[in-house]
Symmetry: C2
Subunit: 356 residues, 2 copies
């Protein structure tokens, strides 16, 4: 009898250990199962309601929903927050709809230069790359920096070399090239400054969706994802192609821990989109986390303070998505809209484009 | 009589405007003259008392004093916090005693790759460069990015190109080359990781100061400066050659706003030195500022919380210098020592190396 009980106990323990191993490489804590959730953004911008045709809107809604669905399914089966952030951002990077990965804009020299960062809220570990050119998924390189090096930030050719050594899939210029984007870049490459530009025209052309001449002047196509998993762990990630026509290897807020990307289990996970410099000088994501930790603000009050009070003072521009340790989600932006998606506690996905 | 009075008034007003113009390019506010002060660091490290010979100690003390003297004189005559930070860091970059500018260490590929950042606490404007190779004073490029571009961070070749266009003095490899450093780099270039190394041996050899075989294993030679000027404005700057033998264009905390460098007139100005990754993942400098702003801690309590509480949790390593809006100075480190200098309200300069 005692021997049988021992065997059963060992078997149960074995199953438990195996199941833990299967779920994730990020060692979730063993606390009781918690409410899990996910939020996604595909950039904020000057895009009042009616900016897009119904076909364009449908394409954005569908991709945002597909990404949220993927993340929610992974969370349901017990994947870690970090794994989910990476997978969801990969999907958005692979879509030509957003200014990240495949959809990245051209620099002044006609190149692709992408930035990305990921952060694990349980350990504060993070990884970040900038000015990366020949990789399909910059977020995978950021993750690899976090997991497989003692460091956090690698730049340019160095980051590419690290990616190659770690067998991360490469992509040549043709992977990113589209005739339509090229023509638009040619049209503005002699201007002195980089600009967030009318991006949707080109990507819609890619998909043979009818394009209208619209009045979008600024659109930040950065993508981001924040997650709370069933172990109570938070994670955040952001990926971007940066400014169209940028030069001097300009780096924005996306790959800067504390500015465009931040996660801590003590407070929240955040991903930002907008004029990068505004998020860098306010150390935006960490400001939100610290308003919660040191001042006791709720997630909603803290994100509101940043985007509608602090950003007013510095004439800042953009938005963010955030999830706190209790699973509350906050969308905050001072632009006309922000591509975004969230999932409620019953698994229902809602996607949004405009201020609605 | 009335006409004479008017003429005198106009003359006085004219003098006042001229004097304002002369003092600085950073538009100090017109508030009454305040207590001004400055603090400097030349890196923290594992260097218990007795690590250096009296001759070595004297060389460090002399350079720290010279830099503090320069900064204090500039402040006395009304220069702005940002101008003082730049001038003091230039002096430290020009010295081979520190791992910044001329004294920068070699990367794994035998190159020099320097990072620097500067921040204006009055406006939150900031500038930052990383992986810059052919410039004598990286802090000048960071300042130029802040003043003459819409952006904050430029990287690698792009940052160099921006520096050239703005006529910032270049330096070729021979400016940085020393036989002794080269030999030491050759000795470790086949190791897999970058390392903070026994740095003083090489720089002392440069100056023909007798070198002893000492037990320093880790020394972060980064330099930094924090200032409060007589207009009540704060500024901070940091400059570094990074890790000896680093690869993949690794970026540390020095050029990351909120991590290694931060300034806000609302709270304090901070410059950090140590294992960069520890300062990035804790968003160290902004954490100190937010502990003051959101939790009401004093400067000393906030820096203590970061270096002796938070850093204990993550096994973090290093130190920082900080000045608050009232002119209080804080030195905080968990290493055996930190090269540092401060000036009291009578203009007396004190320099330190060890835990003393």
């Amino acid at each position: 009898m005692k021997a049988n009980l021992t065997i059963i106990l060992i078997a149960v323990l074995g199953l438990f250990i195996t199941s833990c191993k299967e779920t994730t490489s990020s060692e979730p804590s063993a606390s009781p199962e918690q409410v899990f959730t996910i939020a996604i953004h595909g950039g904020a911008g000057a895009m009042p309601k009616g900016t897009y045709t119904p076909e364009q809107e449908a394409a954005f809604h569908a991709k945002l929903k597909e990404a949220a669905q993927l993340g929610y399914e992974m969370l349901s089966r017990g994947d870690s927050a970090v794994d989910v952030v990476q997978a969801v951002i990969c999907m958005l990077e692979d879509s030509p709809l957003f200014n990240a990965g495949k959809g990245s804009v051209f620099t002044k020299e006609g190149k692709i230069q992408m930035d990305a960062a990921i952060m694990n809220g349980r350990t504060l570990d993070c990884g970040s790359v900038n000015n990366i050119q020949r990789v399909q998924n910059p977020i995978k390189v950021a993750r690899m920096v976090m997991d497989s090096s003692k460091y956090i930030m690698f730049s340019g050719e160095g980051a590419e070399q690290f990616a190659q050594l770690n067998n991360i899939p490469q992509a040549d210029a043709s992977y990113f090239y589209t005739q339509h984007q090229y023509e638009r870049w040619k049209g503005m490459k002699d201007s002195t400054e980089g600009k967030y530009i009318r991006y949707v025209d080109s990507v819609m052309a890619l998909q043979n969706i009818p394009t209208v001449l619209n009045n979008i002047e600024e659109k930040f196509g950065t993508v981001g994802c924040v997650v709370k998993d069933k172990y109570g762990n938070l994670a955040a990630g952001t990926s971007t192609g940066g400014l169209m026509n940028k030069k001097f290897n300009r780096i924005g807020d996306s790959p800067i821990i504390g500015a465009g990307t931040y996660a801590s289990n003590n407070t929240c996970a955040i991903s930002c989109t907008g004029t990068g410099e505004d998020f860098i000088k306010t150390v935006a994501a960490k400001t939100v986390a610290d308003l919660m930790e040191f001042k006791g603000l709720t997630l909603e009050a803290a994100t509101n303070e940043l985007i509608h009070v602090r950003f007013k003072e510095i004439k800042g521009d953009g938005g963010l998505i955030a999830i706190d340790k209790n699973g509350n989600v906050s969308f905050q932006y001072n632009s006309d809209g922000m591509f975004r998606a969230k999932v409620d506690d019953k698994g229902n996905i809602t996607t949004y484009i405009y201020n609605e």
